[in-house]
């Protein structure tokens, strides 16, 4: 598939450089021709149609664009798509299949961890990175892990509860 985006094209002298990238997104290998200046967040959203990754501040502050990059939470508005060539990216769409919820998603539903939902995908992926490394975090550890993700609605209380709920659920699943 091709992902040269008209909206970021500008009249430039000479040829615009283009690179072919191959990225494993949510377990599926995807190929695209991109300008080196294309940001990973934009490739995911416009190129691959994975609009669960939100772009909020576009200045690497808010964390709405958080994805997992080789398992680590990063801000995809501050990584170039070409930098992801050969790497693995997980977006919120990759947490669970279309007809099921990941325990983290269930936690956000059960504990009312969202209002407008804009920060939620980023919150859930930052939580995923935490729980993958630390399955039984304290409340402090959850707050620490989510400190790069901003929410303007809920005041964080229920978001933290949601992640703790998910930790319990995941632990009981792995125990049984």
């Amino acid at each position: 598939m091709s992902s040269l985006f008209e909206e970021i094209r500008e009249p430039v002298a000479g040829d615009v450089p283009v690179r072919r990238v191959s990225i494993t997104v949510n377990g599926v290998r995807r190929t695209a021709d991109v300008e080196p200046r294309l940001l990973l967040a934009h490739l995911l959203r416009q190129g691959l149609g994975l609009t669960g990754t939100h772009t909020g501040c576009d200045t690497s502050n808010c964390g709405a664009c958080t994805v997992l990059f080789d398992g680590k939470a990063i801000k995809s508005c501050t990584m170039l798509a070409v930098q992801a060539d050969g790497h693995e990216v997980t977006t919120v769409e990759g947490l669970a299949g279309p007809s099921e919820l990941h325990p983290i998603q269930e936690g956000f539903k059960d504990e009312h961890g969202l209002q407008c939902g804009f920060c939620t995908p980023g919150m859930m992926l930052a939580a995923k990175a935490l729980l993958d490394e630390n399955p039984n975090p304290t409340e402090d550890e959850v707050r620490w892990a989510l400190s790069g993700n901003l929410c303007r609605c809920t005041g964080y209380q229920n978001i933290v509860k949601s992640v703790l709920w998910a930790a319990k659920k995941l632990q009981s699943q792995s125990a049984s």
Binding site: R37, L38, H42, A73, I74, L80, V82, S147, G148
Partner: protein
Amino acid sequence: MQVPVPFDYERATSVEHAIGLLARLGPSARLVAGGHSLLPMMKLRLANFEYLIDINDLHNKLGYVKVEPTQIRIGAMTRHRELLESPELLRSFPIFHDAERVIADPLVRNRGTIGGSLCQADPSEDLCAVCTTLDASCVIRGLDGERVVRMADFYRGPYETAVGDAEMLTEVRFPLRPHGSSAYEKVGRRVGDWAVVSCGAAVWMDDGVITDARVGLAAVGPNTTGIPAISQALRGRPPSQDLYAEAGAIAADYCTPVTDQRGSAEYKRHLAAELTRRAMRRAVARVHGREL
């Protein structure tokens, strides 16, 4: 959406490859490490380059903390998170742990590097103050080999360093001296923000007397430099609350803050004094094995 101007991109496969590319492409090329300072500046078009040379594949070679008998060597591609989680650094230089807890946020720390922070040379950069406090030296590699530059000479001014065209920072070295410890204090407006003022302190003691002390400030002037007057004033004296206050007064007098959206110059001077006192107090307690 914010998008940089068009540029071309290449991944370096070795330090030599990166330097060769820099030599061939000239000042229109720039290395990108973690990218969390460079890419936002390029998105705002405050910085424009024709080529980016990505050195992230060099992390396996340049991402390390190596302890030697007289120094600790940190590879330029060592990421903030690795510095935060390093048990060796926590033992020898707890200032790193203090500072890394308050640099940006966990997601940014997954990408940002010590080499990138120093080369960005932002006057508010916390790691510049840490390296100044610890009297670090920077290893700069060029086509003809390496040279080693102390922090005072490395940092040339805001966003300017001793790293020339066709050169690359590869390592930062920290001298290990016995009977010492260190601490870092920062006041920011919110999590992840740049400092209103930051202060690093390192102190060495012998027989109840301070043998040497260093203080490095960030965000209170165009330069992130050490304060020799503090070292001179503290040497040979036993630590006390009055002595910390004296060091704080020197720091406040020495720095050159400006009023901006983060605070008034007067407030920043107050912070420079207070944070110097706190960092000194904590560093001395740690020399005695206590945590305040």
